[in-house]
């Protein structure tokens, strides 16, 4: 995929998964509304794999953090799994999917949410 800025690449992932039944962010929201999917940088964020320095090119690693309400453990885990499946299926070709990390319980403000991380990569080339 080609994008002018790295932010465009994040936005493209957001657009690709916009059809899933969740609030989709391409940044870290202060207070995410569950269910949600947030596209955030992974670690390492940028990997330089190709030869030549004349054009800025790198492999970008992202994490899609997926979160659902945590009221009932079994229902929350099921909801998280289904949301994760729908996000993975919504991604177009060209994305390298590696793993989905194990779910964890997080507290954001007064809300308790169940989250997991989908790890993916995409090649970026500066075109303007």
């Amino acid at each position: 995929m080609t994008a002018n800025t790295i932010a465009d690449t994040r936005a493209a992932i957001k657009s690709a998964i916009a059809s899933v039944a969740a609030n989709v962010y391409d940044f870290v929201p202060e207070t995410p509304q569950v269910p949600f999917a947030a596209v955030v940088p992974g670690s390492p964020y940028m990997e330089f794999e190709t030869i030549s320095k004349t054009t800025f090119r790198c492999k970008l690693n992202y994490v899609i953090s997926v979160g659902v309400a945590y009221f009932s453990n079994s229902a929350a885990l099921g909801n998280l799994e289904e949301l994760t499946k729908s996000i993975v299926q919504a991604l177009p070709s060209g994305y390298e999917l590696s793993v989905v990390e194990s779910p964890t319980v997080n507290t954001v403000g007064t809300n308790t949410i169940l989250t997991n991380d989908i790890r993916l990569s995409i090649r970026y080339e500066q075109t303007s």
């Binding site: 330089f48 794999e49 190709t50 030869i51 030549s52 320095k53 004349t54 054009t55 090119r57 390298e96 999917l97 590696s98 090649r123 080339e125």
Partner: protein
């Protein structure tokens, strides 16, 4: 002299006039230098007999893309396997090697999680011409 370090990111090359910078993760021009050793009455004697150069590139597959390098290489190897392709290889600014290689058929496919990649090991015809400036 001060320590000099150049990296793979300093490398650029064109093959058959096409730039491969965007797809190539590694490019190496190497030589197999054949030296015969003779045991003489005066001791061991050495004679350089032959050189075979090889150009090896590791790259990301781009099947189906507009201006695909893989498709171009496939077409070259299919239509004219004995016709060399010109390469201009810059190891770093001021060190340029010009040579000709025979085309190879790219491999297709890859493992599920990652990018499709391939390694082309191309036979160099003749000896590279170096330009050091």
């Amino acid at each position: 002299m001060a320590t000099t370090v150049i990296t793979g990111r300093d490398v650029t090359f064109t093959l058959d006039a096409a730039s491969y910078d965007a797809q190539v993760t590694s490019a190496v021009l190497s030589n197999e230098h054949t030296i015969e050793v003779f045991q003489t009455l005066d001791g061991r004697a050495y004679k350089a007999l032959d050189d075979q150069w090889t150009f090896t590139v590791e790259l990301l597959a781009d099947w189906g893309a507009s201006g695909s390098l893989f498709e171009a290489m496939w077409a070259d190897c299919e239509s004219a396997p004995n016709t060399t392709l010109a390469v201009s290889f810059t190891a770093a600014s001021g060190a340029v090697f010009a040579f000709n290689v025979l085309p190879v058929f790219p491999s297709a496919g890859g493992a599920a999680p990652g990018a499709q990649t391939d390694t082309w090991t191309m036979t160099v015809v003749g000896t590279p011409t170096e330009t050091f400036s």
